[in-house]
Amino acid sequence: MIYKVIAKPEFEKFIDTLVSGETLSYGPRHVDTDKQGEPIYQFREVNTVSDIAFDYTATYSSAKHFLLPFRENLSRFTFTDDDWEQDIGYEVKPIILIGLRPYDISAINILDSVLLNGHFPSPYYLARRKNTFIIGMDHLPLPDCFSKSLNHHTVSHGFNLFCSDIGDKYYLSINSSKAYNYLKEFRVEDPSYDDDCKLIERRKLIKQSFKTDVEVTGLPSFLDIEFDSPIWTKWGDKCLNCGTCAMVCPTCYCYNIEDRPDTDLQGSSRQKQLYSCNLVDFAEVAGGHNFRPKNGDRLKYRYYHHYLGFAENANQPICVGCNRCGRACLANINPKDVINDLRMEKESCMICVSQSPDKT
């Protein structure tokens, strides 16, 4: 990694040059205002630097949709009289993503570990990933964000360029030759001692700004033991099975595949569609048997996959702590409350443990 600093006006010039070019660029934009009067941000196409809201709080949807679109064509079938041909293509247009927060970049790293590993790396994802230029930016978290608890408040890889705000300059972490080459045309300097100090202060500030903490130590074991806990029914009763949490989640990648025949019946597209494990038919098999028939079962499965199942397979929980699901949930279910609820149940038993004969 190479470190440089750039003055803010020069940085804006750099971004402007980048986004006004031919390559499609996406960045956080102020798109609407919610009923409390708070701005709503989303990653949208940007053409000049003034389109980008660098100081955005959090976007409703995550940046995963540039790599995992809601709908994606996997293959095309063209029908002839008594035969068909399958056609598969992976070509995608390069894109630039600007202003991703550390947890969004971490989320992409997690998706990489799922979709590019194993016996069957996804060529669709790989094509998109290799053609995405990512510029990350640090930020002060929203009060309900708990990415620090999961160590995703900083990120060390997965981006091409990362910018930390140190007052009148940005401290740049350059992680690809491509980013380095682009920056050659602009006035960048080596960081001075002062800049380094400011970066450390900035990082401290960010670290201390987290208001929400979720204790995830030993969570896989808790979840495994508490499989039959009544809290799953309690939270399951609230859940509306709408699947919103999975749609806004930066790491949820489950999907459904269906064939969509053309209206003229001359062809058909096999499409992948992002899905949610909270939807009723997620685990239903042919013949109608549903392996997770109750709301609580499905909600539990989601938590198990995020904090236990994935942790067993990839050594880290899949959750990055952005709390998008908590903000978007129509039934006010958020990971912090569910996990704390689960933990409290156990912690109340500390009395019994301390009174057990072995303790004395």
Binding site: T23, S268, G287, H305, L308, F310
Partner: protein, 302 residues
Amino acid sequence: MRFTIPGQDINRERFVREIPDFHHKSEVMLTDKGYKCRITNIVSLTEQEKLFQLRILDPDERNIFRFRPGQFLMLQVPGYGEVPISISSSTSNNEQIELCIRKAGHVTNALFYAREGAHVAVRGPFGSSFPMEEMMDRNVILVAGGLGIAPLRAPLFWINDHRDRYRQVHMLYGTKEPSQMLFTYQFEEWRKINHIDLHTIVEHAPKEWKGKTGMITELFSEIAIDHDNTYAIVCGPPVMFKFVCNHLDKQGIPMNRMFVSLERRMNCGMGKCCRCMVGSTFTCVDGPVFDYWSVMNLKEAI
């Protein structure tokens, strides 16, 4: 000053691969390309089930497609969709793939309208398999309930191909009604030629039924189990697993010598779509064949 990112600079990755390869890990492959097959024969088994015989058209692809007993494939019916189907044929039959399919959903319904000569495609094979080598020189009990006989045909054919390497082989087969019994035409062959000790039972029977009536566990009274030297393979509806495996457990067969094949909804077969996940386990990659100990540890598995 303006500059653009040249398209081909970022877009260096273009993925082209001639022959689809499911057997070797490679960085990129045509994961969604199926082997085109011709339906060579359709056998109507019952009102609900048909046996489809498929031949992969391309000779190279036909050579690549080798599977182990217990594995499954993804059957593509273009325009309708894709379904996971267990392979029901002998591993030594390199010419044809046999699939026993029940009319249960959108894709299988469409398939029931297909005529001989129609083209479909298969992807795979996927998943784990029964450890047939480990079972050699031991007794084997195969327990099938209903359509569960379809995935058990592959290990049964394997045993028939290597009959001298296995000791006593029992097969217990139960269905709801006599009319739902599959592959009845092979029973004589299995009994007389392959020396399989085959027992059948039905839950509800019309008056003219001469066989046994009752639950499948009742068949255990007819066979003697040498629990130190016996392996069991169980496949059927989820409710059957519990009863059969509990019974075998009581008989003293160790949990790691009982194998079950789980059914789940699979969309990709490659451990990506998560539809078949049980806890942290992908049924498509780590399964569908599990030993009973693993199943006991997988919550919600059966």
